[in-house]
Amino acid sequence: MNNSLPLCWPTRNGLPSIAVVIAFVIVGGLLTWAAPIAEIDPLRLVASIPRLLSFLGNILVMPDIEYLTELLRKMIETIEMTLIATSIALAISLPLGFLAAKNTSPHPVVFHVTRSLLSFMRALPELVWALVFVSAVGLGPLPGVMALSFVTVGFMGKFFAESIEVVDAKPIEGVEAHGAGWLQVRTYAYLPQAMPDFIGSTLYILDHNLRAAAILGLVGAGGIGYDMVMAMRLFDYDRILGIALAIYLIVTLLDRLSGHFRGRVI
């Protein structure tokens, strides 16, 4: 009915705000400038389609049945590494999170030191830390778990701290005003309020860690990764397909489970 009336933005003069226009121009300019550096070349993409198709053709084969028991064993190892590493990280991140949150840290110096420590821990990817730990403790799942826990503390501590920083201040005053001590206020007012965020972050990190654990084998730090890389190098497409399907299956399962769990708790 009113389609014939002119369109306008909700500003004084009906034109888009100058700040938005400038932001678009800057972002657009940056992207055009950056595309060649990142080798974004449409022609090259089109030219590579046949090769991509032939690779996909190779991968669509019958999965290697004989490999199944070994696959299962390696997948269980990967899942165990994920669970242990995430649990260790959880236990360390919880107190660190309180030290790294502006509103619960005992002192600004503690806050800055903890924040720096956390950024240091997540500065390098799991794979690099795994290399470090492999050379320290030898091959196997142990260095993998160590590397995963290490980086996870860096992320989890930061996520937790940020969840703590946004909790409602009123209930905190309510608990504080009745003579509760420093730790008690943190246990009874901050923790329950930040809990939904904590659970959300932990479930996300669990998902991320499973995928991270799946490639740690690349540097000999346990899990399915070693088999995957070997299969890639030997062009064992039937194995790659099996491994990819298994990882996909587990990640999907975990996603469903965590979604269900989240719904119940929050």
């Binding site: 009123k170 309510g174 008690q184 246990t187 329950p192």
Partner: protein
């Protein structure tokens, strides 16, 4: 019994706003006092100082012969319970756990980190919940309750700590008239039966008149009225709620009328 005394108390906030200008007042043990006054008069600041939620810029606040300072906050708060306009409950915890937070001052940090309490803490919490008539909601989550019920949980939390003073910062400002009445009756009864000193900030002058034995009027950070409820008449009412802006208007009413 805890008597409270404020001596020349001023409070200036970080943003330069001066909430209180040298307030001196005593509260007798076991009395129910209502503090009334326009928004921004300093009612909340004055009340919160008695619990150490704000510390005076100058002057001193004494609760049971103890001068409130940064170091004895926990001890003072152990004696002084407070309920808030927005109840300030931890919404995700059960009603019971919220009431038990009033018992935290009696617990060491080790056990309370694991949410462990003693049997007598539970008894006190149950008694307090019974007193406010919410025994049957003990195991519900606090945010499942209505506003009036949440305020009663707030009162139960304050009662569970066995305070000698109960402060109420606009306890009925977010509640309907009937619920407000119930809450005020509960406060009056707590004062009469337990001999707890109760100080209430109120916006409703009629409630102050009916439930308080003493009314203090605050305006622009100063006490402008202090007397019994029946001394409150139109003249004193105007004195209390007189704002500076209105004063300016009164001086030159003619131009305004001319435009009208």
């Amino acid at each position: 019994m805890a008597s409270i005394s404020l001596q020349g108390v001023t409070k200036k906030f970080g943003n330069g706003f001066q909430a209180l200008h040298g307030v001196s007042v005593d509260f007798a043990p076991g009395s129910l006092t209502a503090i009334i006054g326009p928004s921004g008069a300093g009612k909340s600041t004055m009340l919160r100082m008695i619990n150490g939620l704000e510390l005076p810029t100058s002057g001193e606040v004494k609760v049971a012969d103890r001068v409130v300072n940064r170091l004895n906050l926990r001890e003072v708060r152990g004696d002084v319970g407070i309920i808030f306009q927005h109840y300030n409950l931890v919404s995700r915890l059960s009603v019971m756990t919220n009431v038990l937070t009033g018992r935290l001052k009696y617990r060491s940090w080790v056990g309370s980190m694991l949410y462990l309490f003693r049997k007598n803490d539970m008894d006190h919490a149950f008694q307090a919940l019974d007193r406010v008539g919410l025994l049957d909601r003990a195991w519900d989550r606090a945010d499942k309750l209505s506003g009036g019920q949440q305020q009663r949980v707030g009162i139960a939390r304050a009662l569970a700590q066995q305070p000698r003073v109960l402060l109420a910062d606009e306890p009925v400002a977010s509640l309907d008239p009937v619920t407000s009445e119930e809450i005020m009756q509960l406060l009056r009864e707590i004062c009469d039966r337990d001999g707890i000193t109760v100080i209430v900030n109120l916006h409703q002058v009629d409630l102050a008149k009916r439930f308080a034995s003493r009314v203090i009027g605050l305006n622009a950070g100063q006490i402008v009225f202090d007397g019994s409820p029946n001394e409150l008449d139109q003249r004193t009412f105007d004195q209390i709620y007189h704002t500076k802006k209105e004063a300016d208007d009164e001086q030159q009413p003619a131009p305004l009328l001319a435009h009208a």
